[in-house]
Amino acid sequence: MPAPPSRERLVVIGNGMAGCRAVQEVLRRDPDRYEIVIFGAEPRVNYDRIMLSPVLAGEKRFEDIVINDEAWYRDNGILLHSGVTVEAIDREARTVHAAGDLSVGYDRLILATGSDPVRLPLPGAELAGVVAFRDLDDVQAMVAAAGEGGQAVVIGGGLLGIEAAYGLVRRGMAATVVHLMDVLMERQLDASAGFLLEEALAARGVETVLGASSEQILGEDGRVTGLKLTDGRILPCSLLVMAVGIRPSTGLAKAAGLDVGRGVLVDDAMRTSDPHIFAVGECLEHRGQCYGLVAPIWDMCRTLAQTLTGDEGAYAGSVLSTRLKVSGVDVFSAGEFAGGEGCEDIVFRDAGRGVYKRVVLRQGRVAGAVLFGDAADGGWYFDLMRSGAEVGDIRETLIFGQAATEGLRGLDPSAAVAAMADQAEVCGCNGVCKGTITSAIAGQGLATLEAVRAATKASASCGACTPLVEKLLKLTLGDGFQAQTGPKSVCGCTGHGHDHVRRTIVEQGLKSMPAAMQALEWTTPDGCGSCRPALNYYLLCAWPGEYRDDKQSRFINERVHANIQKDGTYSVVPRMWGGLTSAAELRAIADVVDRFAIPTVKVTGGQRIDLLGVKKDDLPAVWADLNAAGMVSGHAYAKGLRTVKTCVGSDWCRFGTQDSTGLGVRLEKFMWGSWTPAKVKLGVSGCPRNCAEATCKDIGVVCVDSGYEIHVGGAAGLHIQGTELLTKVTTEQEAIWVICAVTQLYREEGWYLERIYKWMARVGLDHIRAQTEDPDSRRTLYDRFAFSQRFSRIDPWAERVAGRHAEEFTPMSRRMEFEPT
């Protein structure tokens, strides 16, 4: 079809999503206006780039994702130079020059060059087997590599990296995603949803390594063999995919002298700084914003086509949306969730179905939402967010979604419950309908929440529906119903009590904080200052050597291994085993005091020396000096073993019956470093005169001629409480066994912050006695304690002197320390 000479020529550089869509939009408006020429560097027709992920995963073939086949170009009289890269634009002559000495003049020119994948400048980046994930060639290279099996590493835990890893696993490779941040897809997901995604991926065979930065790509004979991380770890691999981001492809535009920022700058009509040249797609920057998704590109293409066919179009920016294309993983994320002033979270978790929902409200309106596992209401939240509607009156039911909210709208709560259909689900966790509950109440004569839980399982899991079940009881029984209270919950983040939490952690093998919060259906995204330290302790106690302590969930004293003082300085208390010290230790302490100008030195009530007023940044250096003299942390800050107070005993005292000092030292040396629900203090007295005050300690030993009396449950702080006699043993070894067994029982049963005397009041002395007098049970308790101690008897000071958590003891930056001059 020869073009009539009157037609203007429209040249498009880039045969991708944006270039072809722009042409389609122009043709739709005015099919005869332009003679159209398209250049595409890729040797193929226009295809749907976002579907490369399913192609990689083997769920689609290339033929399935072609958008415009050869017939389309032919039928529309478009000349496609495929596999031809444009090398220069001559704006004076209005001509583009392409590879192979091809030059084509234009009246209007569209830049649709997309973006280039960012390649990290790591040593080894040029090795064979290192690929990006951008076009069909990359996919073919990955599919070929996957044919050989083996291990792939993907750098980048964003959308692309995850889809690449998932695809490679589907193709039979083992794949690991290495991500710099601590949360997958951190721009779209919060930590809880990111954790669930991590688990969902693990279930599909994709491993993740978070918080990892890459140092070097290793190779042999020019081929990649592994990735080395900055922490020294090496991940072996035969294929390495870099999916760390994209950069607008602006080289041509820059060389032609067009205005370029991060992308080619365009106005609202999609025009560049040259009125004959336009841009669409990922290559451009509009109002300071570059886009990396297709939805905005469709908007841009409409505007551009308007401009090119006579009306001046106006593009105002887009709201972004995309999909994670991993089969069976249902995720939605919209708006902000890193909040700000006046933000409020509503969280719902359903452990049974693996659901996590979080809606963020700001000044009574929806500001954002993250949904995992059930994204059905995503669109609804998104509409509420965009319309900025007040949601105060539907706040209570908002998190349960549109159906629940609209079903109850406008009704007062009791009427709403009465109006609910019998088939309506009340308890989402256990799938119990209203009818089942009301007929159980009437039919079985149930009168309490507990009874309903036992009979129907409603409200027996997360407890979110408890108010609803109580209303049903009230409705069915009238005034005969009285609300009751269950066990005290850990904190406001959960309805569960400590026992239930501890049991669930062990029974379900929960080994991380996000896993526990999900399984126990926490109602906040990341807990609070009360429950996090408790969970951290419960996990640490349940999985010694396995659970990685979460330092951010430790109270400051335990995080920095010193006691914070009223002025923000710290106190340092080294251990003096059993209250013994020596000239060398005292000399070292004196030297430290001088060297760091420590203002106060005090003998504590626990038979050791406290150095008060140490600056935080000096702590590691102070510890280094104390370590050098053989002293370790006294854990004066710990919910753990504090002091073992002793008296001089049979070594010196004229009344001493046994070696109380020696036993105290032995106990302290075996038990130090152990974490417990609350602090634990021991005392060992050499005779019933009890100079070590053993009978007001958590565990005390009173030596007598015939052996050792072991006492438990004393305190002399907020409450003065004498101990109870637990048992009497004849040898020192038995005394150590019993004491460690009691401690372990307390470690396993105590509620966080509950001291031994309170635990004893709750479980009873008889229970403790039964567990520690029976030789088998005593033995296993002792063994568990000894096992846990293998990982605990490590001086936290020495670890920090060696550089652990160094960032804790140095300011983030000293660049603002002084007035600018």
């Binding site: 941040m181 999909r323 933000c343 400051i556």
Partner: protein, 123 residues
């Protein structure tokens, strides 16, 4: 299964008083649910990073008795002061719950650009 993932909207940068901005480090220099200190001639600034990646800066002094907020436990968008456990809203510096209305820890000017944290000093 259809999945929608919508990126956070791009917010217009707030209009700010004339400031000198100092780059004090990368967002990832602060642990998740943690804080770091930046000393200045008028005392420390505490820079916090929440579990969902938000970054906030407050003058490092609790409105109660001056406790160093940078040493507290960060949860949600709040920090619990290490001295007497007041909860402070990171976005406003206001005490929350029962202590609401009892003073505040001033918010420090902060910008986050391409993963870097900038603190402002009025010019």
């Amino acid at each position: 299964m259809t999945i929608h993932l919508l990126e956070p909207p791009v917010l217009e940068p707030p209009v700010l008083a004339p400031m000198t901005w100092t780059d004090v480090g990368a967002v990832t220099d602060i642990p998740l649910r943690g804080a770091r200190r930046v000393p200045t001639p008028s005392g420390d600034v505490a820079v916090f990073r929440t579990g969902d990646g938000g970054v906030f800066a407050l003058i490092d002094r609790c409105p109660h008795k001056g406790g160093p907020l940078s040493q507290g436990i960060v949860h949600g968008r709040a920090v619990t002061c290490p001295l007497h456990a007041w909860n402070i809203d990171l976005a406003t510096g206001q005490p929350m719950g029962a202590d609401q209305g009892k003073g505040c820890a001033p918010v420090a000017p902060l910008r986050v650009e391409e993963g870097r944290i900038l603190l402002g000093r009025p010019r």
